[in-house]
Symmetry: C2
Subunit: 803 residues, 2 copies
Amino acid sequence: MMDTSTHINVMINSNIDDSVNSCVNDENDTEKLLKPRNNFASYSNDNINIRFRNVASLSIGETLSSNPRRLNVEEIPPGATNFLSTNYESLDYDSCENYLLQDEERKKGYKFIVKKNFARWFIFLLIGICTALIAGFVDISIEELSNLKYSCLKLYVDQCVTTNCLWLPYLLWLALNFAPVLIGAILVSYIEPVAAGSGIPQVKCYLNGIKMPRVVRIKTLVVKTIGVICTVVGGLAGGKEGPMIHSGAVVAAGISQGKSTTFRKDFKVFQYFREDHEKRDFVSGGAASGVSAAFGAPIGGVLFSIEEGTSFFNQSLTWRTFFASMITTFTLNIILSTYHGRPGDLSYPGLLNLGKFETIPYQIYEIPLFMIMGTIGGFLGACWNHLNYKITCFRLKYVKQKWLKVIEALVVAALSATLGFSMIYFLNDCKPLGQDPTKFPIQMYCKEGEYSAVAALWFQTPESSVRSLFHDPKGSHNDITLAIFVVLYFFLAVATFGLSMSSGLFIPSLLIGSAWGRLIGSGLAKVFPNCVVLDPGKYALLGAAAQLGGVVRMTISLTAILIEATQGISFGLPLIVVLIMAKWVGDFFNEGIYDIHTQMAGIPILPWEAPPLSNNIYASEIMSHPIVTLKTVENVGHIVELLKCVTFNGFPVVDPPNSDETEIHSYGRFRGLILRSQLIVLLQNKIFNRNLEYWEKSLSVKLFRKEYPRYPTIDQVTISEEEKTYMIDLRPFMNPSPYTLQHSATLPRAFRLFRALGLRHLPVVNDTNEVIGIITRKDVARFRIWEHRGRMGLDELLITNKI
Amino acid sequence: MMDTSTHINVMINSNIDDSVNSCVNDENDTEKLLKPRNNFASYSNDNINIRFRNVASLSIGETLSSNPRRLNVEEIPPGATNFLSTNYESLDYDSCENYLLQDEERKKGYKFIVKKNFARWFIFLLIGICTALIAGFVDISIEELSNLKYSCLKLYVDQCVTTNCLWLPYLLWLALNFAPVLIGAILVSYIEPVAAGSGIPQVKCYLNGIKMPRVVRIKTLVVKTIGVICTVVGGLAGGKEGPMIHSGAVVAAGISQGKSTTFRKDFKVFQYFREDHEKRDFVSGGAASGVSAAFGAPIGGVLFSIEEGTSFFNQSLTWRTFFASMITTFTLNIILSTYHGRPGDLSYPGLLNLGKFETIPYQIYEIPLFMIMGTIGGFLGACWNHLNYKITCFRLKYVKQKWLKVIEALVVAALSATLGFSMIYFLNDCKPLGQDPTKFPIQMYCKEGEYSAVAALWFQTPESSVRSLFHDPKGSHNDITLAIFVVLYFFLAVATFGLSMSSGLFIPSLLIGSAWGRLIGSGLAKVFPNCVVLDPGKYALLGAAAQLGGVVRMTISLTAILIEATQGISFGLPLIVVLIMAKWVGDFFNEGIYDIHTQMAGIPILPWEAPPLSNNIYASEIMSHPIVTLKTVENVGHIVELLKCVTFNGFPVVDPPNSDETEIHSYGRFRGLILRSQLIVLLQNKIFNRNLEYWEKSLSVKLFRKEYPRYPTIDQVTISEEEKTYMIDLRPFMNPSPYTLQHSATLPRAFRLFRALGLRHLPVVNDTNEVIGIITRKDVARFRIWEHRGRMGLDELLITNKI
């Protein structure tokens, strides 16, 4: 695998860790730390220096992450949450201020900056419009197809109730669920698995600064869009809101880059936005647009983006994000108003139309009631999350094959239809026609002039059911019906989230919550029959907020979203009370559902703050440190071998130490940092010292942007034997002054740098600025604080190369 | 002044700067840069090393900031905005992870963290409640006093109209304006000048990370509270909202520290929050509470805090902030509901009660109209800002004495009364009584059964006038009246903002805007008489938003505030359109009023992003670099002399270079950073090596917290001659691994560190980690981008030690 002439220096030292904790103020200890004490083995080698400690053997090609406190675990038990995967890298949010960039800046001048600013606004405008178009497409498709489905079902039910052939509509229902679910499941399982679920965890991780593979591709968008239509039309307990947020993010990433890998088309526009920094900013705008489209909540959208990505946020970005959100709401409003036959009315700001609440009166003495509802929501949400976690464990263990995933989705679809049909068949909940708040009133076994209130709950999209529960007049639903509905839908929703389908959990959670909320409201109204403020619709809204808050644990953006979606601003305070209680109670038991799924995937998401009491953990302890360094002027052959041998993505460029033994503890004086992708572009374009005259004029940062974001692998680059003898001067291309950290700095210090600046690599240097290791995202993310039932402590996660 | 045995090393080198721009990739240039080339003068000295370049002479005691691109300007022309004052330091947002802190952490454990978390929530609760109490006090006082004033005036006017003695109520009006304004002006001018104005710029700067002297003291709060009551009761064109935000900030700072310098009382609680980092977090919560109290807008409050302080924000802080805002709204609601005789009603969420808008219908074709209104607002706002800027220049030049400031305030108060009276006297705008939306209808020269609509505008607080303009039925005001009112109030408001009074500009701006908005609305209604959507109240609201947006240029938080204050969520989109247009148009001409005032004070506020195209400016060029360093073990006498001689606040601790001449270009290997305040505490407590055994047990970080935030000066510390011979080991106290920057790093890189991490000192090191300079806030803030009428460029501000 490797040229036999290439050797490695191996340095083994195992007695060091005890001394690390106590050495910060002692001058000599630093040297003790860095000087090998025993078992020193060295093989001569001029080219590649790989040094490590505490690793007995090392085969090149393996991932070299092996620190004292880490283990390479090949197999993690399904359902484990105490590990991080090495498969996730950080985005390169920190820009590389090398010679080429400076050169470009010098040439362009301020006119270019003004132009770029205009382009930015223009792109945000486009993002807003396109997100709205997609949202409109999804909404209208679902509306039309659902109407078709339920009107057809109603026809058969109405006929068969009299002729006693109710098995026919049941089978029809099954079939009408199966068809779209099959399409959706196949699309997701076989074509783009990353389109499964709501997409919110993925977008959260992306905004957190993680390079999530394939999440913002156009292929994902297509699968997601069709998939979510299939989910809702297929009658699953899923919503279209989460996927809408994901769609917004993809739209933003697509438009801002001016090219598509899926369609192999490069429009040659917006090339100066082809870097992770700019792309992530656009994606945060796209996510906000998505929220705005989903809920008609532009402020909520901005808050969502801030809540998930604050650390990199700034005012001008907030402002553009706001602009995009507003455009989305506006465009979608025009589309939907026109579709509903009221052009110019502008009363359809979002997909989720929860209906407008007029002023909702409430009294101070209701506040404790609201707190109790929040507590219930938090508890039910925690249960929901736990059950879903257990089911996900089961899925990880047993449902691995793609065909099994499709079957599983079909089973849940069948379950939905069966449960619904049973409820309609067995429950006798008749209400007089006339003020029926349903599109397809079904008589079933009710008397003439009445309709089945149970059927009304099932024969519509979940979103319409939420609206019914919010706004139906008092007494529209029997308590027993609601109670059974809550239980059934609770389990249905648990089983649905995590299927191989594109579906969100906002709507199911809202539906469960509004059902039990209404139940409480009508119960209270029975206890205090003279109290006018006990409107069941109000309690349905609070229950919905509590349940959703208990499941996802977002607070501030959710408040804004619910206020905007129901237009009930005077009701803001009760919503806040309920959401805060739900979060507190829920957090007492477990984490939010998105965090649970993120942890189960081992994604190294960074929390908001460094773990407390970790000031005694030093950079020298957490760094990855058999690392690979390059010289400022490096041999091409060595670079090629290196890239083939190791999987690192960043290489410190150093002045190598003298062969003098006193300096052997370091990799040499730090000069800069170069990325694997940069090296590959250099090799691919054969920018060697020997060709430099040829390149000098045309050499530009564009060369690197052209390949962004999917650079070729080293195996796709062909380098001839002669070229391998050439040299490359890395200095014009490397980042000459990346942020570095002293070995004696603490974990919180490294954490803050990563969190606030969006770093990917943080070289650790000693007292004389010589590289001794490198810190990456997983090195700081693996220290995670846990808080459970009022106690807390520090977890150190395992590192694995499993996805 | 200084011991004659203390000499200084002086190193002069003037030919360096040309070479800096081109040296980043050349190994040798670095050394060229750092090695002195000519005029090298050295005086032997072991103790204090002061080195600098480009400074021909240096008298100890002067501020040593003197870089190639800087000038020490003693006198800045009044009205200049192109300078920064050295009087403002950064907050120590970066915590000092020294031995003492680690020691404390080791002893406390996670139980302490849980306790601290609870304490944090508890403090936010207290902040919420206290802010609401203050807001309630202010509101009720203003309400009662204004009622008294205007009912008294009405009495006299009603009498005098018939008996022809109108000079009597005029004189009375003058007197009733003079009395409170005199109190307010004397309080502000003589007792606490920092309480002048709205306080929002000061809070903004504090949240930006600047140590604003005296801004968050209890004395300031008292003056502010009484002052704002005087302003509004005195009939000035000022509002109580800005001061309310400032009050919230002070409350937060006060409560979280558990002690008060004004009252010389230390409650010995919350001692672990006595650091800039924690304090600033609480202040951001307090500011949000203040907004929440002022406008009944908890979400708007959170957004305000985020908009001003995003860079240090995180989710848990957002969440606590939200909690405090909510508590404020709730408490204030209870207070005001009870006051207004409707306990439990909860319809008074804030001070600014703009009245609730029912659904406001609008049509797509109105959008261009909204954009035009935004444009007008932006333009008028820019004019307002420019005029106020001119007046402020005048004030800086001629109104310097305290008594002059008081007189000025009285003049404006007289002007207000005179203008108001003239309008009432000369304008004949009579409306039939019956649906009169005013508390004190005055007949003046109107017929029986009618009242003067002009008097209705003036005989109430500005806030009530805004409410009238929003909600009065069509035709309540004559167009002429409104037009004259707009012009008069525009100039009155311009003259008022910047007086030596506590007063905000939200209400005056809203009033001006709502007046011209209503004017436009009624004009349109006349042109299209059949169009029902042309409600003048709607246009008044949009005008108010446009005017306010044009003046202050906040976008997102203002939108949320206005939506929450008017409860008109369905009207969010038009508001956003108007605000964005107003900001764009206004920014085309000048900056927001707060920014203008901040710049005129030379406050080194950091913008959101580093100036573009500044990648060719290097850390070595921007750093302050005759700096003063200390040795790890330092002589007490030298420290004392040093602190007396120089005004620096941070000192790099180094291993001094050998006397070998090759190393003379640096100050020695970097070991850590120690603050002036830390040194003073060490000296004050006599923590010398000789006493160390005595101290060892009780030595704790509490010693430093006790003095926070106002440490004694070096002159207040007495050190005997014998003690001066002792040594101090600085290593347990210094920050052992602060963030550092390579000399070859660029300005944007330094900027990002400062912005994202809230730094105060950033030592600059060379390739071998030897200190060569230090970057402080003003070094990065002085590069400011200007954008004016579509063009942009880079300004380099002057540095001065003038306030």
